[in-house]
């Protein structure tokens, strides 16, 4: 459904994404994991067609995001890092606007809006001004706008960041409920989140893929945290930054403790 092929992105001399490839199959929830600054947001912005890749490409359901941009973009629902809300619009008016932008037919707009309000638990908030919503509700409106045209592909950039534990739980439940036959890519750096909602995990570090695995293939008794740290350590090791020194530091830490 989503195929990322050899994606590279450089900003001037800085290479943010260094030739990554991965696939997400239909109906899968793919967790896109990595430390801050690993290139997650950049990759997602390229997948959604917001910015071009320096080289490589992304294929959404057979459509190239650059060559067939309009058609490919039609298939995607996208929640950027900050929910893209117009602070002076009412929630329902905002969702109607996004529905029209995303190509929902005029006579289906009202139903689509009512549906996502219901699904995202926003019915009570429909007449509120977006700018006055709490962070949790802003995130919900962000999810609602990503879902409004019932897209086969959803790209969610850190959907639970900055929320309190109860809200995180609710948003996770929501995302799980979206799944079905949808393909969802969600980025996060919260490890338990991945084991709770995802089928598959891609770990990136410093612009490279460190690990790509089905969650079911991770051996029992190993936590995702161990897998993550091991994968990232391997990557750093491979990238050669004085491994002995690193080991020494680790050793020193242990002896003190």
């Amino acid at each position: 459904m989503i195929e990322v092929r050899d994606l590279t992105k450089s900003y001037g001399n800085f290479v943010a994404v260094k030739g990554i490839s991965f696939k997400a199959e239909s109906g899968q929830i793919l967790g896109f994991l990595g430390p801050n600054g690993a290139g997650k947001t950049t990759t997602m912005r390229i997948i959604t067609g917001f910015m071009p890749a320096t080289s490589g490409t992304v294929i959404i359901d057979g459509l190239d995001i650059f060559a067939n941009s309009l058609e490919a973009r039609r298939l995607i629902g996208y929640l950027p890092e900050t929910p893209p809300l117009y602070s002076d619009m009412r929630v329902d008016a905002y969702l109607r606007f996004v529905a029209r932008l995303r190509g929902v037919r005029r006579n289906e707009v009202a139903d689509a809006v009512a549906h996502v309000l219901e699904v995202c638990g926003l019915t009570e908030m429909a007449h509120r001004i977006c700018g006055q919503l709490s962070k949790g509700y802003r995130q919900r409106v962000g999810l609602a706008q990503a879902l409004i045209h019932n897209p086969p592909v959803m790209i969610l950039d850190e959907p639970t960041i900055g929320l309190d534990p109860r809200q995180i739980h609710e948003i996770r439940e929501l995302i799980r409920s979206f799944a079905g036959d949808r393909t969802i890519v969600l980025s996060t750096h919260i490890l338990p989140e991945v084991s709770q909602i995802c089928d598959r995990v891609v770990i990136i570090n410093d612009g490279r893929i460190a690990l790509e695995e089905q969650l079911s293939d991770i051996p029992a008794g190993t936590t995702l945290e161990e897998v993550f740290l091991a994968a990232i350590a391997r990557e750093d090791h491979a990238a050669d930054t004085a491994p002995e020194e690193m080991l020494e530091e680790v050793g020193a830490g242990h002896s003190e403790a």
């Binding site: 917001f50 071009p52 619009m89 932008l101």
Partner: protein, 257 residues
């Protein structure tokens, strides 16, 4: 077209819920009223002086159009140079800053439709503003006997000038995410287009006559005197189209940088 109207409708509603637009409208009309009052006072005083001197022939030459409307329109055009950048500065800059730009650029719509929609909305608000300033000719028509045709040509010139300012303002707003930078650069460009012919006034070759052609007041003054020349209308329309084209390129550039 449908997408253009969706964006235009949303943007236009935006103008009516934001204080900036009302401030611009108020400042424009208040200053206009003050200038109008000043011109009328001067006109009145001159008539009294001429009457005291008993020169009937000069009294015949006193003309409301030339003595009141003509200078009023020139003053209003200067007010527009100052207030229009404030009206247009947020159009793209704010979307970039708040992140809603990602929503617009990942939606299945063309950048040309985005630019056209935003221009239509800003242009509609601007035309409402210029139409509101028609109050001054109406007052003259009630208490005096001005030439309506000449006033109509003058207001057409003011409207075309204002729409040119809108297009230039959209362009500078598309270049930055900082509204102040957008406003100052659009202000600078407009002033430049106002004074661009100053070195040409000394006379000279082709380059100087081109500068003369680019000068806004050149075309504006002809129309304000009541001469609707295709040449001037073509000038304004091509300036608007050029600025909108550059805006579209600037928005589109996000896709190839």
């Amino acid at each position: 077209m449908r997408n253009t109207l969706t964006i235009a409708a949303k943007e236009l509603q935006g103008y009516f819920v934001q204080p900036v637009a009302y401030v611009v409208l108020t400042v424009f009309l208040l200053l206009g009223g003050w200038f109008f009052f000043a011109m009328l006072r001067q006109f009145d005083e001159m008539i009294q002086i001429i009457q005291m001197m008993g020169q009937a022939s000069e009294l015949q030459q006193m003309n409301l159009n030339a003595r009141v409307i003509d200078p009023l329109l020139h003053d209003l055009s200067i007010v527009l140079v100052i207030v229009m950048p404030a009206l247009t500065m947020r159009v793209f800059a704010e979307e970039k800053r708040t992140g809603t730009y990602e929503l617009l650029l990942t939606a299945p719509i063309r950048t040309g439709e985005v630019v056209a929609g935003k221009f239509i909305a800003a242009a509609t608000f601007t035309l409402i503003m210029v139409a509101a300033a028609w109050i001054f000719p109406v007052i003259l028509m009630i208490f005096g006997n001005p030439e309506v045709g000449v006033m109509f040509a003058g207001y057409l010139a003011l409207a075309l000038l204002a729409l040119t300012f809108v297009a230039v303002g959209l362009f500078t707003s598309s270049l930055t995410q900082n509204q102040i930078i957008a406003a100052i650069s659009s202000f600078g460009l407009l002033i430049l287009l106002y004074v661009i012919s100053w070195p040409a006034e000394a006379g000279g070759g082709t380059i100087w006559s081109i500068l003369g052609y680019l000068s806004l007041p050149e075309h504006f003054s002809t129309m304000v005197r009541g001469v609707i020349d295709t040449k001037d209308i073509v000038f304004f329309l091509s300036a608007i189209l050029l600025a909108l084209f550059l805006t579209q390129r600037s928005v589109e550039s996000a896709r190839w940088r």
